[in-house]
């Protein structure tokens, strides 16, 4: 396998044809991010201010009840709140007091805006400021919007992290440091930390942190490396605070991970030979793990429906490391600033669609008869019933897929439906 040729500026003039669609979208809203964010920051609580639909959505996306009493809840608006009989702010204060009394271990409370709260223009940022004063220093209260009218699925994490950026302590020393941004499972984060350490990179921090009270510092020396592609707003906020963006392909697969590490090292003044020394062994291991699935997946035609914005990096991985043929790569939103390194590595002529018109996209998918369809859970069983093979895209968000040690697991997620089809004789 030859290394990925990454343009150092992360920006290539070559443009791919983009199909922009505005029709029915079959995607989650940003509230869904709470499902993984609350597990990452275990001293934080997420209070959605919304409707019964919001509560039902999170419950359905999370699976019914992982925890008896989770670190998220919904303050459900009722007709009294809407009719103005009850002052929403008084009601919210009451609900938050009740909540914080019940959960004294909570250190950060996120008030999460929803479609209804946005439409009635409930000012959660003022509420958050008021409550922060009231509950300081024990609890910090922040707000962001996870509403479907403003955010799509993973953009909820972007909005959440962006709301934390002003809280980051300033590092005015100008000392160099690396900030890795985006929720990763702890085990993956630890793997990356070991690699950075082996390269001699000190002062590597991860954001979001495992404890919401131990926020990383930011300043002019901070190099910002995204671990997830859907964090454009957070990136721009970090740059405003002095950070420098390190454009890179995302660390999916063996080659992707090396390219990502290489870009980070280059930005921090580590020479390529050191990176090669450190990465040689785990990269070879990842190639070995991938090899088994490459034989199964090579030449398979794959169609990706829009879901998490991970689609462009995933498509790059599927093409370069597994030899997959890309039929269509759908993404809910194409942020060139974050995904350009991966976008540049897609083969010329790849059909990319941004946004969605689900019925039209299903028509295209049926016409193409791909070997594997990567799509959401609302579409997967119906497509299977039509004889297509599917991989649920949400698993790509919830499973550890980043880094060398997960490269094989990531490939296996795509190979499993094919494997299953060959096993079944019913």
């Amino acid at each position: 396998m030859t290394a990925l040729e990454v343009s150092p500026t992360g920006c290539d003039d070559r443009s791919l044809p983009i199909l922009r669609e505005r029709g029915q979208r079959e995607v989650f809203c940003g509230l869904t991010g709470i499902v993984w964010l609350h597990r990452k920051m275990q001293d934080a609580f997420f209070l959605v201010v919304g409707s019964r639909t919001c509560a039902h959505l999170i419950q359905s996306a999370a699976g019914v009840m992982i925890f008896a009493e989770p670190r998220f809840a919904t303050a459900i608006l009722d007709e009294r709140d809407l009719a103005g009989l009850a002052d929403c702010n008084d009601e919210l204060d009451r609900v938050v007091s009740q909540l914080l009394e019940r959960r004294p271990e909570i250190r950060t409370l996120f008030l999460v805006g929803s479609c209804p709260s946005e439409v009635i223009k409930l000012d959660l940022s003022r509420a958050a400021q008021r409550m922060s004063r009231q509950f300081a220093p024990r609890v910090r209260v922040l707000n962001y919007s996870g509403s479907g009218i403003e955010t799509t699925f993973t953009q909820g994490e972007d909005a959440c992290l962006a709301s934390l950026v002003p809280e980051l302590p300033a590092n005015d020393s100008g000392a160099p440091g690396l900030l890795v941004v985006g929720t990763l499972p702890d085990i993956v984060e630890d793997q990356f930390a070991r690699l950075f350490d082996a390269m001699g990179m000190k002062n590597v921090q991860f954001f979001p942190p495992r404890q919401s009270v131990t926020l990383p510092a930011i300043g002019s020396g901070t190099r910002v490396l995204l671990a997830q592609p859907f964090l454009g707003e957070t990136l721009r906020a970090l740059v405003k605070r002095g950070g420098t963006h390190v454009p890179a392909p995302f660390p999916l697969g063996a080659l992707g991970t090396t390219a990502w590490l290489m870009q980070a090292a280059r930005a921090c003044g580590i020479d390529a030979a050191t990176v090669a020394d450190v990465t040689a062994l785990p990269e070879r291991r990842a190639h070995t793990a991938l090899e088994r699935y490459r034989t199964q997946l090579r030449g398979q035609r794959v169609f990706l429906f829009p879901d998490s914005q991970l689609e462009i990096p995933l498509a790059r991985f599927l093409f370069h490391e597994l030899g997959v043929e890309l039929v269509e790569v759908g993404t809910p939103y194409l942020d060139r600033q974050t995904v350009s390194s991966d976008l540049d590595l897609l083969p010329a002529g790849t059909r990319i669609s941004e946004g969605q018109d689900v019925d039209a996209q299903l028509d295209r998918c049926r016409a193409e008869r791909p070997d594997l369809v990567v799509c959401g859970l609302g579409l997967a069983n119906p497509l299977e019933a039509e004889g297509m093979m599917t991989k649920w895209s949400i698993e790509l968000v919830f499973s550890p897929i980043h880094g060398y040690e997960q490269a094989g697991d990531l490939a296996e997620l795509f190979a499993r439906p094919l494997d299953r089809r060959t096993r079944l004789a019913v």
Binding site: V27, H56, A68, L379
Partner: protein, 545 residues
């Protein structure tokens, strides 16, 4: 504003989706923001539906709010009609669209579609899923029916078999698929034909001819009662009252049907010919004596909870220590039923309140929904699911109705299985001092795996190990629950003396928790600082069993 961690019912438009998804030739155009499409996966995942729900969402975004969301709705409705060509179209708003007041009904009428359009007004900030389903069914039937000036009904011609409709079964209804089959079998055996089953399986023409049947069989009152009552008022079409869940209720139901259909049961071999069940004998067999007086807590939708309480007391010999429902609309029925068991009904959709209730009652068996399954797991109490909301594991492949004769067999097995079998309980008592008989040894009951470092996450009920990405069993979730939140401990000022602690250790593990709780309560109530062996046995004598 109400703080909610888990909800028993979704918003009312999900109820409308259940009705639309149940029927053929129906399409629902829902004015809703992006994200509300999550509801599709309830159908495709929990029920493993092989088609998308027949729903078009407008998925408006913030930028549309400034321009013209009404126009967006009109385009979506017109496109949906062209693409799907339904026989009847339902239109409505989700919670957010309700706030922007675009009037989907009026907009859809303005399109002059060549099919009936049913405008659904489902107030999302007041009402919930089952009510939404009920209203949707009612308004759709009304829109498709021609009401006569006066409600009259000609007697059925002699020699013609009686015909009835089955009302209330929908997609995502608890065991609806099999209940329909079972009740159809029962009715066929009785000599009654089923004209229409609605909403499940019906099309627009079927709804229009509901009134032609001789009577209605109301299977799920939460969803079908409003329609059944309207049919009664409008067409003088009678309706059954008993929901045939359990032996007694099935017998009552058969008698009701016989009366409505003019069938002489005695001439046909008697009631027992039609209601054959293993439950009565299984319940009388000596092994079942261990079920006697087991304290059960029952919670669910009103219909299933009321039926379960009757079975629990009259057919299994349990003691009903609590009965409740999240169905506020049927609260009166639940309260009446609770009075029969000498308990106060718990009418609540607050999961934490239900949990506190279960915790305080410390029942030996919980009969509830998916929510109570988790409550029970956390508290270490056996549980069987009797009502929705349910999980993918409660949509079984095998035939497993709740209603009719076979339903009674399914219920016996499902409720008794989580409990220790009588013979085993006896053997455990005999062998408990054997050194090889370690605590926690259980025969047919599943062991909780020792996965202290497993972190599980879940997508629509399928639970995955966070590290491996492998799906894991429901029991692991319980382990995770325990890691996350320690089980509540009864607050006590009494300390266990070492002798008492040792004595407690000799009590079989499956009743030890109860003995501990009772003793502590006894000690606290009497202001005892230290629990001795005597305190323990005093408490045992005081509480009995």
């Amino acid at each position: 504003m109400k703080l909610s961690v888990w909800t028993y019912e979704g918003p009312p438009h999900v109820g409308a989706m259940r009705v639309a998804s149940s029927m053929r030739g129906v399409h629902y155009v829902l004015h809703a923001p992006q994200g509300d499409t999550y509801a599709d996966l309830l159908f495709t995942m929990i029920e493993r539906r092989n088609t998308r729900p027949p729903v078009t969402y407008t998925t408006f975004q913030a930028r549309d709010l400034g321009s013209d969301t009404a126009d967006l709705f009109k385009r979506a409705a017109a496109d949906a009609y062209e693409r799907f060509r339904p026989d009847v179209m339902l239109v409505g708003s989700s919670c957010t669209a309700e706030l922007i007041q675009d009037d989907p009904g009026g907009l859809a009428l303005a399109l002059n579609l060549p099919v009936p359009v049913v405008a659904l007004e489902l107030p999302a900030y007041q009402r919930k899923e089952n009510w939404g389903a009920s209203e949707t069914m009612y308004h759709t039937v009304r829109a498709l029916s021609v009401a006569p000036a006066t409600p009259t009904r000609a007697p059925r011609p002699a020699g013609q078999r009686a015909r009835c409709n089955l009302l209330g079964a929908t997609a995502l209804g608890f065991r609806c698929r099999d209940d329909i089959t079972e009740i159809q079998r029962l009715l066929t055996a009785l000599g009654v034909d089923v004209a229409v089953c609605a909403p499940q399986g019906a099309n627009a023409a079927d709804l229009a001819r509901l009134h032609e049947a001789d009577f209605n069989v109301l299977l799920y009152p939460e969803i079908g009662r409003t329609t059944a009552e309207w049919l009664k008022r409008t067409y003088a079409q009678p309706c059954t009252r008993t929901v045939p869940i359990g032996v007694g209720a099935t017998r009552d139901f058969v008698q009701e049907v016989a009366t409505l259909a003019g069938i002489d049961l005695d001439a046909r071999g008697g009631l027992d010919t039609f209601v054959t069940s293993n439950l009565p004998w299984y319940s009388r067999s000596v092994d079942s004596t261990y079920l006697t007086g087991k304290r059960v807590f029952v919670f669910g939708d009103a219909t299933h909870a009321i039926a379960a309480a009757r079975i629990a007391r009259d057919e299994l010999g349990f003691t009903v220590v609590g009965l409740g429902s999240y169905s506020r609309e049927q609260a009166r029925d639940v309260r009446e039923a609770a009075a029969l068991y000498g308990v106060e009904a718990l009418i609540s959709d607050d999961y934490l309140e239900v949990e506190a209730h279960v915790s305080a009652l410390a029942p030996e068996l919980v009969l509830g929904t998916q929510m109570e399954r988790h409550i029970a797991k956390r508290l270490g109490i056996p549980c069987a699911v009797i009502s929705g909301p349910f999980h993918v594991q409660d949509a079984p492949a095998r035939y497993s109705p709740q209603m009719g004769p076979e339903g009674t067999n399914v219920i016996f097995d499902a409720w008794v299985h989580p409990l220790m079998m009588g013979l085993e309980e006896h053997l455990l008592t005999m062998f408990r001092e054997d050194f090889e008989f370690a605590d926690g040894t259980r025969s047919h009951l599943h062991e909780r795996p020792a996965l202290a470092d497993t972190k599980a996450f879940s997508v629509t009920g399928v639970v995955f190990d966070e590290a491996s990405g492998e799906p894991v069993t429901a029991d692991v979730v319980a382990v995770d629950d325990m890691l996350e939140e320690a089980a509540p401990v009864v607050s006590t000022t009494a300390k266990w003396g070492p002798d008492a602690e040792r004595e407690l250790g000799k009590i079989p593990f499956f009743v030890r928790g109860k003995a501990r709780r009772n003793t502590e309560r006894f000690a606290v109530e009497r202001g005892l600082a230290v629990i001795t062996v005597d305190t323990m046995y005093e408490a045992k004598a005081h509480f009995g069993r």
